[in-house]
């Protein structure tokens, strides 16, 4: 079977803030069913890369080809505290299209939030908010899901739920790009690891049969050599 056409192709993506280049030429591809974990030191440009790919920031150079629609989960929720979980999803769904608003109840169910669907988001715990943020990102049934630190601050139950949902998405052929420091928790989800340092993707390697320790050692080696 021929390899699947990539749904995301980034070529020499550059992003400068003033004269300071945060991304200095990032190139990679992402295929359906692939989950690339983006690791790198703080300030390496992981968040900037995700924001550029999502179209929230304009690239200063390079090209980005997207074949499919994009959803994004950031380390902020993009939700309204004064609205209930259901109202938030229906609002963002209406902005996508009429059908997406109808997915609100199904997504609340998937994320285990049906019981609190009519509670205001302002009263939610970090874990509940993050699960709802993922539901918001899934409203348009995206082909590519960009996730920025999706597991930070989650308790065990929420973490297990999020990891389970991400694994399910990958199994259904969605492409995932996950910026995170929580390698061990995501080992069951990711298919490859990319090391972003000094504004460049220094290495992209498949997980293969390697464990957390081997990948971590390789990551340190790449960062030292960058």
């Amino acid at each position: 079977m021929p390899p699947a056409e990539p749904v995301l192709v980034a070529r020499d993506v550059v992003r400068r803030f003033g004269y300071r280049p945060v991304l200095a030429g990032v190139s990679f591809t992402l295929a359906p069913g692939e989950a690339l974990m983006l690791v790198g030191p703080n300030g390496a440009g992981k968040t900037t890369l995700l924001r550029v790919l999502a179209g929230l920031l304009r690239a200063s150079g390079g090209t980005i080809e997207l074949r499919g629609n994009v959803g994004m989960v950031a380390h902020y929720s993009m939700l309204y505290d004064a609205l209930t979980a259901r109202e938030n999803l229906r609002f963002f769904g209406r902005l996508h299209d009429g059908r997406s608003a109808g997915r609100a109840d199904a997504l609340l169910e998937v994320m285990g939030l049906t019981a609190v669907g009519d509670q205001r988001v302002g009263s939610f715990s970090r874990g509940m908010t993050q699960r709802l943020a993922i539901a918001r990102a899934l409203l348009s049934d995206p082909d590519i899901l960009l996730l920025d630190e999706p597991l930070t601050g989650l308790d065990d139950a929420s973490l297990a739920k999020v990891v389970d949902v991400l694994g399910g998405l990958r199994a259904r052929g969605r492409a995932l790009l996950i910026a995170s420091h929580q390698l061990a928790e995501l080992m069951g989800v990711i298919t490859s690891v990319g090391v972003l340092a000094r504004g460049r993707l220094q290495a992209v390697e498949p997980v293969g049969g390697r464990g957390v320790d081997a990948i971590t050692a390789r990551y340190r080696e790449v960062v030292r050599g960058a």
């Binding site: 929230l56 629609n69 209406r94 902005l95």
Partner: protein, 226 residues
């Protein structure tokens, strides 16, 4: 066009639902309006200056500053949890965001004006009589222009550190011509003089609306870029 309208209505409905639930801006604006009307009424020496002489100025000072409270809050809703990113990740046209915010602001400011106007008539004991439709028309014409400009500037300043201070600083200089015009027309109506005497001011108010509705709609997209 249909897409813009659909998105705009969803955004306006969401803003008004949040305001209805929290009533933060409305209560602040109304408290402010009542205080300003009362202070300006009692500030004059009634043996020297008649209430009707200061009434037009008092009305427009009240409307302008009470509206500013609502305009200031318009985009602060989106700053919370960076909800604007969530909107920008949907395919909704950028113009829909502006039109939606404008509609919500017009409803908000219109409500504040509708509640303030009877208080104004009561405080200043002005006899409007058959001039009421004309006064309502002038209020509507003047409000559209300054709310359009206020909506644009609110989006511009929301990411600055002193957003609530910056909005009046930027907005008030632009408002000098339309507010003078509105005061002149209001004075004419309260004096039961024909509107034809102030046709020039009415044309200025209409021109202000057309120019700033067009310019603000065209420029709005630029305010969303980081």
């Amino acid at each position: 066009m249909r897409e813009i309208l659909r998105g705009a209505l969803a955004i306006a409905a969401k803003d008004l639902a949040i305001e209805w639930r929290t009533k933060t801006a409305f209560v602040s604006s109304m408290t402010f309006a009542v205080l300003v009307l009362a202070v300006l009424f009692f500030a004059r020496d009634p043996t020297v200056v008649g209430a009707v002489d200061v009434a037009p100025g008092s009305l427009w000072v009240t409307f302008t500053f009470a509206a500013m409270i609502g305009l200031n809050r318009a985009f602060l809703l989106e700053r919370e949890n960076r909800a604007m990113d969530g909107i920008l990740l949907t395919p909704v046209p950028r113009a829909a965001v502006f039109v939606g915010k404008l509609l919500a602001n017009l409803v908000f400011v219109g409500t504040v004006e509708a509640v303030s106007l009877p208080l104004f008539i009561l405080f200043y004991d002005v006899s409007i009589g058959r001039g009421l439709p004309a006064l309502v028309l002038v209020i509507a014409i003047a409000t559209v222009g300054f709310v359009a400009l206020g909506t644009l500037l609110s989006a511009m300043v929301v990411r600055t550190r002193f957003a609530e201070l910056m909005l009046p600083l930027l907005l008030l200089p632009f408002l000098v011509p339309p507010i003078i015009g509105a005061v002149q027309v209001t004075a004419s109506i309260l004096a039961h003089r024909p509107l034809s005497e102030v046709a020039g001011w009415l044309k200025l108010l209409t021109a202000f609306d057309i120019v700033f509705l067009t310019v603000c709609t065209l420029l709005f997209e630029r305010t969303l870029e980081e």
